[in-house]
């Protein structure tokens, strides 16, 4: 343990790249050693076996060459045997059969039929060429060399060579050495079989060398050996490999490989190759050095590769460590471990991870402590919220069972908390018709949560109160996932009041649309943002529509209304209709509400009423006197007519013969009754005029004059008279019976108008003056009519005095009565043909008040 710790301590200070090189070297050495161990042995083994193979191959090659060389020789011999010259040579020859035939020997003679055919094919010339007859008797011998002995062919060889089949090749080991003997049949030119041609060639160094042409003699030597005796019969290099020596003598210095000659096995001959040991060793050395070089290269590559890999890894580690330490420093605020160069990064990393793990553990503990605290706080807060919430808060689990229930929910749903827990929310709190919607809301919330959208879902439902009645609620669902279980918190807000308020607002909002009068709302710039149905005509007249603009002339009004915040009332005529517009600014919203009222009918009615009234007053003023007079006349006419009838009837009877006095008495009574009736009518009339209680009202004389002038305007126009008013600048206050004084003024003005009827049109003048003098209000009505005769002046104010054809003669009389009744005076000044002035004075109001006060006291 301590060893390990101390080792690690040392290792701490070895940087990774150094370690990498060290390890690489070590690995290289180990590899080297292992390869040396394994590969050296293997190489030796391979080399040995390979050497054998190589040698055998070499010797086989030698054998093949040798064999082929012999075959070449045989072929050449055959050419010779069938040569035309030989056939021609044989034509005249006749060999008689004879047992003892001595062959003719030609030494060093080149017969004509023997061309230099062997030279031409690069073959050594044969030592002997023999011609044999059909029985195998040798007839002619041609010896190449003088020194060469004549060869006695053994009968075995002779029979072997003279097979009737044709060419035969054999090797024979004669005493002088090894020979190659080749026999072939010969014929003369007529085709008669003459016998056999036999060629003998000694297999000596030259032959072997020729057969092994191209072979490096210093490296390898070839020899024919006797297998049984293991003796060299002929060698390619007789100087170094002496024929007649034993093979074993050579085996110390050479590697000997012998192979049997396949076609000549019966001769017990082998062709052997001799490879000197020195040559083999050289080759072996060469192979080993090659192998060593390869191995060294492999080890070097290995070291380099390994070091590079480790180095790269360590460099990467450095970077990772730098980053990690930076991260630790920045994100976690950990100073240690700080990365240093020149130490072992792996160990550093390990330490770092250990530290980091501890830190994380610590942090996690702190976090969890913090989280627990927070949870406790949240729980407390949640409980407080649940308790205090004005909304019903219900938590249900995935199956819809209530698991939390706040006091508001208790009172709203009429259910104690402990009763509610564990029960199905939908079944308890919702009417059956609303449950599917509730399920849909839940499903939507779940889906939204699963798709990562805001899972908060709202809906409006009806909920059941404790007493079974329903209430509209706004339901808000928040899904919560805890430990793979789904919960939902439901917030229910009783919106009964809101609904009512909404309905109220909606119904209020309908006011405008239902209004039969146009209601508009416009912006500061006169854009119409609302217009009810009734405003269509108005908008059309304005050449605008519900989305249009106010006419430009109204923009200033709208702007002004918004600036001073004052409601203003305007009138406008649009499309022959009169509208009263009430502009109400809503300054904070920048709108102006326009309430229009179609007052066409009102205005028309007013106008008509004014006209009508004027006419009515006019007519009534015109006819009042006539009416009274006519009524009075009719009333009086009745009793008077009756009296006349009674009286006439009575006088007729009195003229007749039969007089019934009773009847007459009765009629007299009737007459008296009717007279009584007439006087009653007159009395009633007087009572009507005289005994009315005075009515007094405050008025301005100027105003009365103007009013009366408006009554007679029509008449004045018809009479082509312009009434000139010269009224006091200040009001002339009087307290009078308005109707009576108007009647007086009307009479006087009308009289003046009548008086002007004979005056030329362009000279008609009617002037009315008023003034306040001392205690009196005075009014003068002046015309330039014909005037009043002085004789008439005295009777002017008497009843029934008139100068007109159609008059009653009551106007001035009544006027005088009325004026006198008001403690005023009326008189006339007239200069006939010039002017006539009627003066009316009435007490000014203040003077009159005093007099009344005096009377009272």
């Amino acid at each position: 343990m301590t060893n390990k710790q101390s080792f690690i301590k040392i290792l701490r200070f070895v940087p990774m790249p150094v370690l990498a090189i060290l390890v690489g070297l070590l690995a290289g050495v180990v590899l080297w050693a292992a390869l040396d161990l394994i590969q050296g042995r293997a190489v030796t083994k391979i080399f040995t076996s390979e050497l054998h193979v190589q040698l055998e191959l070499r010797s086989r090659e030698s054998l093949v060459r040798f064999d082929r060389y012999i075959a070449n020789y045989a072929a050449t011999t055959r050419l010779l045997a069938n040569h035309r010259r030989l056939a021609e040579y044989l034509d005249p020859v006749i060999w008689q059969p004879d047992d003892n035939v001595v062959p003719t020997v030609y030494d060093r003679f080149q017969p004509v039929w023997l061309p230099d055919i062997f030279d031409r094919y690069g073959l050594p010339a044969p030592s002997h060429v023999l011609l044999l007859d059909g029985n195998g008797q040798v007839r002619e011998i041609y010896q190449d060399d003088e020194g060469l002995p004549l060869i006695e062919l053994s009968p075995e060889i002779r029979s072997a060579l003279t097979k009737p089949g044709g060419a035969t090749t054999i090797l024979s080991t004669e005493t002088n050495g090894v020979y190659l003997a080749i026999g072939d049949r010969i014929e003369d030119s007529a085709g008669y079989p003459m016998g056999y041609l036999v060629v003998l060639v000694p297999i000596d160094a030259a032959f072997l060398a020729a057969s092994q042409q191209g072979l490096a003699l210093q490296r390898v030597a070839v020899a024919l050996i006797d297998r049984t005796e293991q003796r060299i019969l002929s060698s390619i290099d007789p100087d170094s490999l002496t024929p007649g020596t034993l093979v074993t003598d050579w085996e110390d210095d050479h590697v000997v490989t012998s192979l049997s000659l396949p076609h000549y096995e019966h001769l017990d001959l082998h062709l052997a190759t001799f490879v000197p040991h020195a040559s083999v060793d050289r080759m072996s050395r060469h192979v080993r050095s090659f192998e060593w070089r390869q191995r060294a290269l492999a080890a070097l590559v290995f070291i380099l590769f390994y070091s590079l890999i480790i180095y790269l890894v360590s460099a990467r580690l450095n970077r990772i460590l730098t980053r990690m330490s930076r991260f630790a420093h920045r994100a976690l605020g950990i100073e240690q471990p700080r990365f240093r160069r020149g130490v072992n990064q792996l160990l550093l990393l390990e330490e770092w991870i250990r530290d980091f793990t501890q830190l994380v553990l610590k942090a996690r503990q702190e976090l969890s402590r913090h989280y627990e605290n927070e949870m406790r706080e949240t729980e407390a807060l949640k409980a407080a919220i649940m308790e205090a919430s004005l909304d019903s808060i219900v938590t249900i689990d995935g199956r819809g069972r209530i698991i939390e229930f706040n006091p508001t929910a208790e009172s709203a749903l009429g259910l104690r908390r402990n009763e509610a827990l564990g029960r199905l929310f939908a079944a308890r709190a919702l009417p059956a018709s609303e449950r599917p919607r509730f399920e849909r809301l839940l499903a939507r919330s779940r889906l939204a949560q699963r798709e990562g959208r805001e899972p908060h879902v709202r809906g409006e439902l009806a909920a059941l109160r404790g007493d079974g009645s329903t209430m509209p609620v706004e339901l808000s669902i928040v899904p919560i996932d805890v430990d793979d279980q789904s919960f939902y918190t439901l917030y229910m807000h009783d919106i009964t009041k809101r609904r009512e308020a909404e309905r109220e607002i909606k119904s209020l909002a309908r006011f405008a649309s239902e209004s039969p009068s146009p209601v508009l709302r416009v912006t500061r710039r006169g854009r119409i943002v609302y217009a009810n149905r009734a405003s269509r005509d108005l908008l059309k007249a304005w050449d605008s529509d519900a989305n249009g603009h106010l006419p430009s002339e109204w923009l200033q009004e709208v702007a002004d209304a918004l600036i001073d915040g004052q409601t203003r009332e305007k009138e406008t005529i649009a499309a022959d209709r009169t509208f009263a517009l009430l502009l109400t600014p809503i300054s904070d919203l920048g709108y102006v509400n326009i309430y229009a009222r179609d007052i066409t009918a009102v205005r028309r009615a007013e106008q008509e009423a004014r006209q009508h009234q004027a006419e009515l007053v006019h007519v009534s003023r015109l006819s009042t006197l006539g009416e009274v007079a006519t009524g009075m006349a009719h009333e009086l006419n009745q009793p008077l007519s009756a009296i006349v009838n009674f009286a006439n009837g009575a006088s007729r009877r009195l003229q007749g013969p039969n007089i019934d006095p009773d009847q007459l008495v009765q009629v007299m009574g009737q007459i008296a009754n009717q007279a009584q009736r007439a006087s009653e009518i007159i009395r009633r009339l007087r009572a009507l005029v005289g005994k009315q209680p005075p009515i007094r009202a405050d008025a301005d004389l100027n105003h009365l004059i103007r009013e009366v002038c408006s009554f007679v305007e029509f008449e004045a126009n018809r009479a082509d008279v312009t009434i000139h008013l010269d009224l006091a600048t200040a009001p002339v206050p009087i307290s009078v019976d308005l109707v009576q004084i108007e009647q007086v003024l009307l009479n006087l003005i009308r009289n003046a108008l009548d008086a002007l009827s004979d005056t030329p049109n362009d000279d008609r003048r009617l002037t009315i003056r008023t003034r306040a003098a001392h205690d009196d209000a005075e009014c003068v009505i002046e015309d330039n009519g014909p005037g009043i005769e002085p004789a008439q002046m005295a009777h002017l104010f008497e009843p029934f005095f008139t100068t007109k054809d159609s008059g009653m003669g009551m106007g001035l009389a009544i006027s005088q009565t009325i004026v006198a009744d008001h403690q005023g005076r009326i008189w006339v000044e007239s200069s006939p043909g010039e002017t006539t002035r009627f003066h009316v004075t009435l007490p000014l109001r203040s003077a009159r008040t005093e007099s009344i006060t005096d009377n009272a006291t």
């Binding site: 006519t630 009719h634 009674f646 009837g649 009629v667 009737q670």
Partner: protein, 206 residues
């Protein structure tokens, strides 16, 4: 047996009614008074109601003019005398245009009133006699055969018998016979008589 003609007085004023009755009775005429147009219509029977109607223009309810119009539409040919008060001239004119016989202003000149009434009564009597005669002739005409009717028309046109025979394609003798029967059935004493009858009928049908 002609019925006694009656002066019918319609006036809403009681004194007027009784004074008129008193005055008119003083010349021996029969008088019946009614306080309204409706009261008069309720009791009046056209057949026996000969005489004349004295009518006040101004009355509450149905006015004198309305009653006059009603009588005209009901084909009652009672002569109407209108009584008007002061200033009712326009109404009197309208009444005259509507066929009133006369109008009298209150208070009355008794002579004028009585004359007017007398004229009314005479007019009524003539009217009734004429109507009676026309009815009689119409009855006689109804007895003629179509052929006789044709002959009568041609005769009253002043055609001679020969002309009539040529027109109708019959002999003069036959015309003679038809003519005699027509004279007989029409109870005409002469040709002039027959022509008068034809004129009476023609007047009525005009």
């Amino acid at each position: 047996m002609t019925p006694q003609p009656t002066v019918f007085v319609v006036d809403d004023d009681e004194a007027m009614r009784s004074s008129l009755k008193w005055l008119i009775e003083s010349v021996g005429l029969r008088v019946r008074t009614y306080d309204s147009a409706r009261a008069f219509l309720a009791s009046y029977v056209p057949e026996g109601g000969t005489g004349c109607l004295l009518l006040d223009v101004r009355m509450p309810g149905m006015s004198g003019l309305e009653l006059q119009g009603y009588l005209a539409r009901a084909d009652i040919t009672l002569p109407v005398i209108i009584i008007t008060g002061h200033g009712d001239i326009a109404m009197a004119v309208r009444a005259m245009k509507a066929g009133a016989l006369d109008f009298i202003e209150k208070p009355f000149n008794d002579e004028a009133l009585i004359n007017s009434i007398r004229r009314g009564l005479d007019y009524d009597a003539t009217q009734r006699a004429q109507r009676l005669r026309r009815a009689e002739i119409a009855t006689r005409l109804g007895q003629l055969t179509p052929r006789e009717h044709e002959v009568m028309n041609l005769v009253t046109d002043g055609k001679s018998n020969k002309e009539i025979a040529a027109t109708l394609g019959v002999s003069a003798k036959t015309v003679e016979a038809h003519r005699a029967r027509v004279m007989d059935k029409m109870q005409a004493r002469s040709l002039a008589d027959l022509v008068r009858m034809a004129l009476v009928v023609a007047d009525a049908t005009d």
